[in-house]
Amino acid sequence: MTFSRVLRQLLGHERRDQRLDRGVFELTKRGISPHVGKEFHPYVASESATQDDVRAHVEARLRTLKDAGLVNPFVLYDKLARTLVLDPSIELRPARRLRAPVKESCLAVTLRVDVIDDVFTAIRAARRFARFGIPATFLLRHTAAYWGAMRGRLFKRHCALGGWLWDLVVAGAELDLMVDPFPFYFEYGVDGSQAVQAELRWVRSAGVVIRGVGSLSRAGRWGADSMEIFRGFAGGNRFELLRDDVRVPLQTLDLATLAVEYDSAFVRPRGELAATPAPVDAPYIAPGHSTTLDAFLAQNPIYEFTTDHVAWLVGHDSWVYLSNTAGKHSVQWPVSFGMLEGILRAAERPGRAILIADSASISGGADV
């Protein structure tokens, strides 16, 4: 049966009856997005000749974080580097290699820097890692101010974006795209999965290699995790998200079709979408952050983390740590850097760990 015939049949009946829902489910299961209830505008992007003052925007956020006592000094990158480089039983790997087999005596560790806003610290960090020879993975958010902004129906890329990307490339950073489709659907009525595809295409057309994707993980806000737009990554194998009368298709993109080789979220969707607890946002550093750390890392209703150890920097010398070994989860918070060093030293070998930090969270001077 063709798509148009199915659609005609469906539209001939009441819109919200069970049959329609079944039909939408069937259609979306085949990767077709009918956008029932709302038509999304196509995603259109161009480069901007003028630019927002991203530095001022970033500095304002850093001031807020600093005033709240949440920022770590930049020298933490050096401390991290020394800890990781000097332990011969730790093998540093970029995200694309974390799943590869690990030697009996080794702990494979990926350092993931999530560039939520602060592209300047990210570039500085990438250079610091290059000095030590540390391969780290940087997730770039295509909805951040440094990437661009919606102007009416048009997404305008920041004119300096290309230069920042090449700064990171030359520094040897592994670059992944942090997908963030939901603001397009819910705030602009624009097709968010098209946005992800278009930005991936654009980066590659500039010669920059992107092989992986990660998630902004704002399920607390949107009701779904960004990774759920990818086939096989939706919690409970669901195919749509209904929120504020907007029906958004999930699982519309396919990693292989997009030539994406891995996900740097290192998550596995749950077979059944749990009703409780409600999904929460990732524990990114922010004043007054309401995330329940346990709810995100151990009780996440949408997906579970697959690495043996996850450490997420959430404040000044404050990490949240998830131990995820032998089928048991336990979350520790707050964990100081000294404690984290001890955890990594004592962690069972072989094993895999991922350390995650928002670039802004390690941006301070000696005064923080």
Binding site: L92, F129, A130, P135, V170, V209
Partner: protein, 285 residues
């Protein structure tokens, strides 16, 4: 052991010399055979590697063995040998040390970065003026696969330039590299009997100088004409590799600031190698 190694700072002419020596009829000279000790060289320089004998036995000696069994003189070129010089000497391996005027080396490194690979001292705050070839090369080489850049030394906390490294231009980083790696090599070599190592100045290499090394190594079948022809072909230069010369200016055309930057870092080694007269600086030369 009838074996030798060729080494020097990168872009000093070591590849050219190894190709010439490889043309001998009674010997081979391999260029950077794998594994080429990139990681271990850096770790050794930082005092973090403690098995140099085992490493060289498993690599250089093992590679040499089948040739030596056939009575073929074995040679290999690797610019990562600097920290291993004492052990190579212990093994009876002869040492061929290639050096070149630091200003020419720095210029060549800058061209290599901008027009060939884009990955020389990747932490430099100026990404450089990369052409399409260099962009494609660096984009395809994430840090974990970049053994060459890892192998280059970085200032330790005891180094006077340690704190300033983040602000260094690439020219300064390359100047520091040339100075540091030559200091390391020469310090090791000067502790050895003078007849155990062969220095060659490759700034303006002559067939005669190469011929003397050929003779000292006992290599045959390399006429002066053959050597001259190979030298003239400028093996492994940017022109040789890409058909075009580099756009980074000759040191005579460097800005006064760049000359001063180079001198601040590299003048002592320039004097030690005889490229500057005692107590002279580039501005005097």
């Amino acid at each position: 052991m009838n074996a030798y190694v060729v080494f020097g700072c990168a872009r000093s002419g070591t590849t050219s010399l190894s190709k010439i020596l490889d043309a001998a009829t009674n010997g081979v000279c391999l260029s950077e055979p794998w594994p080429n000790l990139t990681r271990e060289s850096r770790l050794m320089m930082e005092g973090r590697f403690d098995r140099p004998h085992q490493l060289l036995t498993e690599t250089v000696v093992r590679r040499a063995a089948p040739y030596l069994d056939q009575r073929v003189i074995y040679g290999e070129k690797n610019n990562t040998f600097g920290p291993f010089i004492p052990v190579l000497h212990e093994y009876g391996i002869r040492l061929v040390y290639v050096h070149r005027d630091g200003r020419d080396v720095v210029r060549s490194l800058m061209n290599w970065h901008n027009e060939m690979f884009g990955s020389i001292y990747r932490e430099c705050s100026d990404q450089g003026k990369l052409n399409q070839r260099a962009k494609a090369a660096v984009a395809a080489l994430p840090l974990d696969d970049d053994h060459s850049d890892f192998s280059r030394p970085r200032p330790s906390e005891n180094d006077p330039w340690f704190e300033l490294w983040d602000q260094f231009t690439r020219l300064e980083m390359c100047s520091w590299y040339w100075s540091t790696i030559n200091t390391l090599m020469l310090d090791h070599l000067e502790r050895l009997p003078r007849d155990c190592w062969i220095p060659i100045d490759y700034t303006n290499p002559s067939a005669k100088a190469v011929g003397q090394a050929v003779e000292a190594l006992g290599l045959t079948g390399l006429s002066s004409g053959t050597v001259k022809e190979m030298l003239d072909s400028r093996i492994n230069s940017l022109e040789d590799r890409t058909g075009a010369g580099g756009s980074f200016p000759h040191w005579r055309d460097w800005s006064p600031a760049d000359r001063a930057r180079f001198d601040a870092i590299a003048a002592p080694m320039m004097r030690r190698l005889g490229y500057y007269p005692a107590e002279a600086f580039a501005s005097d030369v």
